[in-house]
């Protein structure tokens, strides 16, 4: 798998694919997309990289171990549910806040967004663990 075309294309595609996965994640609340799909796209990006450059290289650019990514995701999802609890509502109640950014701009931010980020990370972590571990088997 040392095709120059594939290697070069992957190098240019990687950032765009990752950006696309984040785009899918954040548009998910109003348009097709979301944490699950975004996570799968991100995982697929890294897998493409590992196909071209080998699993070792992929682990290097990942920096964090997928196991930690997965745990972090679950933690974020749980923590987003606790916000509800601390405002005396049931666990996982969606809470929305408006952040005023000046000049009349407002940013709508809510706990479901963080929940979705958690889902995103768990999906990336779990998929990468399974596929990278299998790819490394010898």
């Amino acid at each position: 798998m040392t095709s120059v075309i594939l290697a070069t294309a992957t190098r240019y595609l990687m950032p765009m694919l990752l950006l696309f996965s984040a785009f899918l994640l954040f548009r998910g609340h109003n348009l097709p997309g979301g944490g699950f799909i975004g996570g799968l796209v991100a995982a697929a990006t890294f897998i493409l990289h590992s196909l071209v450059f080998g699993v070792g290289e992929t682990r290097k650019i990942l920096r964090v171990r997928p196991v930690k990514l997965m745990g972090l995701g679950l933690l974020i999802a749980m923590a987003s549910g606790l916000v509800g609890v601390f405002t005396r509502a049931p666990f996982l109640t969606g809470k929305w806040y408006e952040l005023v950014l000046g000049q009349g701009d407002k940013w709508h931010v809510g706990t479901p967004v963080f929940f979705d980020v958690g889902v995103y990370l768990v999906v990336i972590g779990a998929t990468l663990i399974i596929i990278l571990s299998l790819a490394e088997e010898d």
Binding site: L24, G28, H29, N30, L31, P32, G33, G34, G35, F36, I37, L40, V41, A43, A44, I47, L51, P66, V67, M70, G71, G73, L74, A77, M78, G81, F91, L92, G94, W96, H108, G110, P112, V113, F115, D116, G118, V119, V122, V123, G125, A126, T127, I129, I130, I131, S133, L134, A135, E136, E137, D138
Partner: protein, 766 residues
């Protein structure tokens, strides 16, 4: 207030390891401030309680289920809570010195504080569910504490044994408490006590009593469940002192005393307690005399103490209950002191074997004095608190009605004589006998080490000398709570020349005789050890039997062939769903309008033929490609019917499957057809049945859809309430977030499972 008292222990447990890391030398003293604070907070309410007051507090926990986190502080729970937090303070200080330098000391503090909090919760809880949960928490934290030195197999085994025995009892207790709540029509203990409820006439009564006894007897190590307590001595000494003398094992006693107003007064309750208690009392004293290890000797004498408490509760007269409460305090004080003492002796000499100890008093005067004071209280000699306790026990048996009085008195005298002889073995020989071992002097005995043994022993003496004040403030309210009527109790050392004094003299004479011969008795009785037919062996046999059953079941269910698993899954689904469908309300198959567009028809035909190709494929690659056609076709259908989210997911999953396949294809064995034609036919039938079932389900669902309120609700509220326009996503992250949380948890577990299987195997297996 009480909630903070209970829950702060859990909170401090979380940060205890950090405190230990930051201040390794002073963590013990620092962490002990919490139990000390709890003791002071509780003690400040002592006068209110002594005046007949009761403090009840309630916090909503799971209101939908009627479960509240309610607390109930009366004389009985205050006494227990003070013992727990007071002795807990000493134990935390002592642990800092006893385990100093241990790499896991921080974790030890965490377990210890969590245990203390659970125990406080147990004695203060006012709701039956809360009682059960704290009960289980004490079992769990004691498992961690007994198995603290988990590198040793003996410690792991003992921890598991304690957990299983008390855990099974805990399950019985849960059933008992649920029945009790049904019978009493309330989950609130406080309410039942206030109503003066007695369930004796209820049809559930006998079942309740049996189940609650199963819980209390396992926890409080009554015969025949007593065997786990001596095994639990594998835990570090502070654990033995805290859990197995002063607190946890008294959980069962607390429960029985607490429930006596509600369940007591019948032969089933009183006689059972009396009999089991008497047997445990005598057996414990006898076995304690036979031990050579200081801690095991103390463990069996604790069994004796627990038996005595059950015995007195069983007799149930006013004198007996006073005796039980007085003895409870006496036992907690001298037993905590003696356990901590044994720890220091072990620490200084490196042995706990009484045959190798002697003449230690000269080297450890403070510890030796503590041992003498506590030992005299344990032997029940004047002017110690233990003396008052023992006199009350004799008075209770002597005055008990009927012909059993003589029998009960004999049992009490025999048990006490044996126990006093055992005390002699424990105190006289190691400290005053001929010099055998000399401390190596490497470990100076600092205040943290002598405070624990000395303070409770001195308290035992002070309370004995001035019995009026403790009797009024602590004993009276506790007895009043058990007897459910106000009391006025006066205790004194000297009652004049009573039969009880004569019994004490007789006991001492007997004890002296036994002590003189104890070595001979010990060696002689070794021949009569129960061995293969004792309760401990029974535990081993049932544990091994369970393992065998599990192995057989695993071999039966886990064939190791993927196609068997898939077949089982599909058949089970067909059977369960089909059964529900046929047995449920009558349903209608709604045929949708058949305006199939040309390209939809082509797509469906393509998927159908791809499925046929998959089944008939001669190579793995073509099977995978054909499966891919089915998957992508499905994704296209999703797009066609306006479900872009599903389509995107489907596309990516299909791609991932191909990648996964690329990675594993080299390692798979040659593609072969291993099914016989008959198996093919069977698989075909199952597959067709599954297809028919799914089609039916979809058609039924089409008919139901008209009346469904859910999708309308989601459509109407997605943007207004959840601020999102993509209904699918809003369902996933908001309306049904709990389901999603479950799903990602499962995904995490699956990931962790794959990681464990592939990455954490020993090298030679790879």
């Amino acid at each position: 207030m009480i909630a903070i008292v209970v829950l702060s222990g859990f909170g401090l447990a979380l940060v205890a390891p950090a405190v230990q890391r930051l201040l390794p030398r002073h963590a013990g003293w620092l962490l002990a401030l919490l139990p000390l604070g709890v003791t002071v907070t509780l003690a400040r309410h002592a006068m209110t309680i002594a005046d007949g007051g009761v403090i009840a507090q309630s916090h909503a926990w799971a209101p939908a289920l009627g479960v509240t986190l309610s607390f109930y502080l009366d004389g009985l729970s205050l006494l227990f809570a003070l013992l727990i937090s007071g002795i807990g303070t000493l134990i935390v200080i002592y642990s800092g010195a006893y385990l100093s330098g241990h790499p896991n000391l921080g974790r030890f503090y965490a377990y210890l504080l969590a245990f203390m909090a659970s125990m406080l919760g147990l004695v203060l809880a006012g709701n039956l569910i809360a009682v059960f949960i704290f009960w289980e928490l004490t079992s769990l934290s004691s498992y961690l504490l007994i198995g603290f030195e988990h590198e040793r197999e003996a410690a792991r085994k003992a921890a598991l044994q304690a957990l299983l025995v008390t855990g099974i009892g805990g399950l019985a207790l849960m059933a008992g408490l649920v029945l009790m709540a049904l019978a009493g029509n309330s989950w609130e203990l406080a309410e039942m006590l206030d109503r003066r409820l007695n369930l004796a006439g209820h049809p559930f009564y006998l079942a309740i009593v049996i189940l609650i006894f199963a819980g209390a007897f396992t926890k409080s190590a009554q015969t025949p469940f007593h065997f786990w307590l001596p095994s639990a001595m594998e835990g570090p000494t502070p654990v033995s002192a805290f859990l197995h003398s002063a607190t946890m094992v008294k959980g069962g006693v607390y429960l029985v005393l607490r429930l006596t107003p509600i369940l007591g007064g019948t032969a089933a309750w009183q006689t059972t307690l009396m009999l089991v208690g008497a047997v445990t009392m005598i057996l414990g004293a006898w076995l304690s005399l036979l031990q050579t290890d200081l801690k095991r000797l103390l463990a069996y004498s604790t069994v004796n103490g627990l038996g005595t408490l059950m015995f007195l509760t069983g007799i149930g007269t006013r004198t007996a209950i006073i005796g039980a409460v007085v003895f409870l305090v006496a036992h907690a004080l001298y037993k905590a002191s003696l356990f901590l003492n044994a720890g220091v002796v072990d620490h200084e000499t490196g042995t706990r074997d009484v045959r190798r100890l002697g003449g230690l008093y000269r080297h450890l005067p403070l510890i030796g004095s503590a041992a003498v004071l506590a030992g005299l209280s344990m032997a029940g000699l004047a002017p110690f608190w233990g003396f008052i306790g023992k006199e009350l026990i004799y008075e209770a048996t002597w005055q008990s009605v009927g012909q059993t009085s003589g029998l009960l008195t004999t049992a009490a005298v025999a048990a006490n004589a044996l126990l006093i002889a055992a005390t002699g073995v424990l105190v006289i020989k190691p400290f005053f006998g001929p010099v055998r071992t000399v401390p190596d002097g490497h470990h100076p005995v600092g205040p943290a080490l002598w405070l624990g043994p000395l303070l409770p022993a001195v308290l035992g003496l002070l309370c004995g000398l001035l019995p009026g004040w403790p009797a009024q403030v602590f004993i009276t309210p506790a007895v009043a709570a058990v007897l459910a009527q106000p009391q006025d109790i006066h205790l004194a050392l000297w009652h004049g020349f009573t039969p009880m004094l004569g019994l004490t003299g007789l006991t001492l004479l007997l004890a002296f005789g036994v002590y003189r011969r104890h070595a001979g008795i010990r060696d002689g009785s070794a021949r009569f050890a129960l061995g293969a037919c004792g309760p401990a062996a029974g535990y081993e046999i049932s544990l091994n039997g369970m393992m065998k059953l599990a192995k057989w079941q695993t071999r039966f269910l886990q064939s190791g062939y993927l196609h068997n698993y898939i077949l089982t899954l599909i058949i089970a689904t067909i059977a369960l769903v089909g059964y529900t469908l046929l047995r449920g309300a009558p349903f209608q198959l709604t045929l949708p309008a058949m305006d199939v567009k040309l390209y939809e028809g082509v797509l469906a035909a393509l998927m159908l033929s791809a499925a046929v190709v998959t089944v008939r494929a001669q190579s793995r690659l073509s099977a995978i490609v054909a499966m891919g056609v089915v998957g992508y076709g499905l994704a296209l259908l999703f797009i066609d019917f306006g479900a872009p989210d599903l389509a995107m997911t489907q596309f990516i999953i299909e791609t991932m499957t191909v990648i996964l396949f690329v990675f594993v294809i080299y390692r798979l064995p040659a593609y072969k057809i291993i099914s016989t034609p008959r198996q093919f036919a069977r698989n075909g039938v199952v597959a067709v049945a599954a297809g028919v079932l799914m089609t039916t389900l979809v058609l039924v669902a089409l008919g139901v859809r008209e009346g469904s309120l859910l999708s309308e609700f989601f459509e109407a509220n997605s943007f207004i309430k959840a601020h999102g326009r993509n209904i699918v996503n809003v369902i996933i992250v908001d309306f049904r977030a709990m389901d999603t949380l479950g799903e990602i948890t499962v995904l995490t577990l699956a990931g962790a499972g794959v990681y464990t299987l592939l990455k954490l195997r020993p090298k030679e297996d790879r």
